[in-house]
């Protein structure tokens, strides 16, 4: 089963078209193995990106050096998925 320890989801709010295109460039940096949950649309609409642990530092440095503001939407995806799984199992137990 694929797990996502240390994966974070960053919420990025581009300020202008320059930042938009810098974020779009990230899509082509295949080595980062980024997963765009919410794609680049226009300035002021958030872009959500799941970032694997091995790319986290590099991506955050990239965003910070470009002056692109971001927040951590999900601190650790696997923790959230474990909670979701536990909730499903307990709800199933209740049903049974």
């Amino acid at each position: 089963k694929e797990t996502f320890e240390g994966h974070q989801v960053l919420r990025i709010v581009p300020k202008d078209d320059v930042q938009l295109s810098l974020i779009k460039d990230l899509e082509d940096m295949i080595e980062f193995e980024l997963d765009f949950w919410r794609g680049v649309t226009d300035a002021v609409t958030p872009v959500d990106i799941r970032v694997p642990f091995h790319s986290l530092q590099t991506v955050k440095i990239y965003l910070e050096t470009q002056g692109i503001e971001y927040s951590t939407m999900i601190e650790d995806l696997q923790t959230m998925l474990d909670d979701e799984q536990e909730e499903m199992e307990s709800a199933a137990r209740v049903t049974q």
């Binding site: 089963k1 694929e2 997963d35 949950w37 794609g39 649309t41 939407m73 999900i74 709800a91 049903t95």
Partner: protein, 309 residues
């Protein structure tokens, strides 16, 4: 659960429970609900479509699908709630009753069953189909880039490892081809609604070109009405417009193809998240999401019913 009254609509269910739910609903409502298997997924799962009909033959029809992107769990969950809502409200809600006395509704709840099974057992973040791509280690095609409308154009990827991989050719995925064949053979669909999550939008064609559709004004005003109705329940704010002008260019998309088939009322929903959960929407939000979405669906279905073409 022994029946659909005791079924827990506020929970995410594995695929076997959803398939059991469908069979229970059909068994409980033999005069209104039937199940049509329109094809098989790559791994051999049946592609089940629930048909809600009060009679007649080949009546004008409305299509709703959920779960074409498997990780968008709130959509399949809402689909189950919609199914129960239809059988519950027929005969009670005058608007729905009028629609079903003249039209049929077709609902495909698990449109990408292989992907959905995979999200429960292997990778919660899976989005695409599960068919291998020859010559690549990466599996699966984005089923919302595989349709024959601007196929392979900008806004879709030619790389099999991409989440928006369009596939080797249009309709290469049986999950897409089955719907195409069904819609073509039925020939009398008047509305087609494909449901995704999570960026809260109601979108109409086109995604692959900036050329506006000929019915743009009507589709835009109906979208505005639909999302106003939706927001009336919990205040959830939606954006609306054409795909290319509201989000980005996306070619090979579902409703671009359906609109080009002459199905005027072709829409894509992006359901909630209003917070910071993304695809991992807490199950406590399933029913409120389904309830508000239903208001928008009713607006579209009622308009379709009152504006035959």
């Amino acid at each position: 659960p022994r029946n659909t009254d005791s079924y827990d609509y506020g929970r995410y269910h594995p695929i076997n429970e959803i398939y059991d739910f469908q069979d229970m609903l059909v068994a409980e409502n033999p005069n209104m609900v039937s199940k049509i298997v329109i094809g098989q997924s790559y791994e051999g799962r049946p592609l089940n479509v629930l048909k809600f009909s009060t009679g007649g033959t080949n009546r004008p029809a409305i299509w709703i699908d959920t779960g074409i992107h498997s990780r968008e769990w709130v959509t399949q969950a809402s689909g189950q709630w919609f199914a129960k809502k239809i059988v519950t409200d027929y005969g009670r809600d005058p608007t729905l009753t009028a629609i079903l006395n003249k039209m049929d509704i077709f609902l495909e709840i698990v449109t990408n069953p292989d992907g959905y099974y995979y999200t429960h057992n292997n990778n919660r973040m899976w989005r695409k189909t599960r068919k291998p791509n020859p010559g690549s280690n990466c599996v699966g095609v984005d089923p919302n880039r595989n349709w024959d409308a601007g196929f392979g154009g900008p806004g879709a990827s030619g790389r099999p490892c991409s989440e928006t991989y369009h596939g080797p050719r249009a309709n290469s995925e049986s999950e897409v081809k089955s719907i195409v064949d069904f819609v073509k053979s039925h020939g009398n669909f008047k509305a087609f609604i494909s449901i995704h999550s999570y960026s809260q939008m109601l979108l109409y064609p086109y995604g692959y070109t900036r050329t506006p559709v000929k019915d743009q004004a009507e589709l835009h005003s109906l979208a505005k009405k639909a999302i106003t109705d939706l927001a009336s329940l919990y205040g959830t704010r939606y954006r609306y417009g054409s795909i290319i002008s509201t989000i980005y260019q996306a070619s090979g998309g579902t409703i671009d193809w359906t609109y080009n088939q002459g199905i005027k009322y072709s829409y894509t929903f992006e359901l909630r998240d209003t917070g910071r959960y993304g695809f991992i929407l807490p199950p406590s939000q399933i029913i409120p999401t389904a309830q508000e979405t239903w208001l928008a669906l009713m607006a579209i279905m009622d308009h379709t019913y009152k504006n035959p073409y």
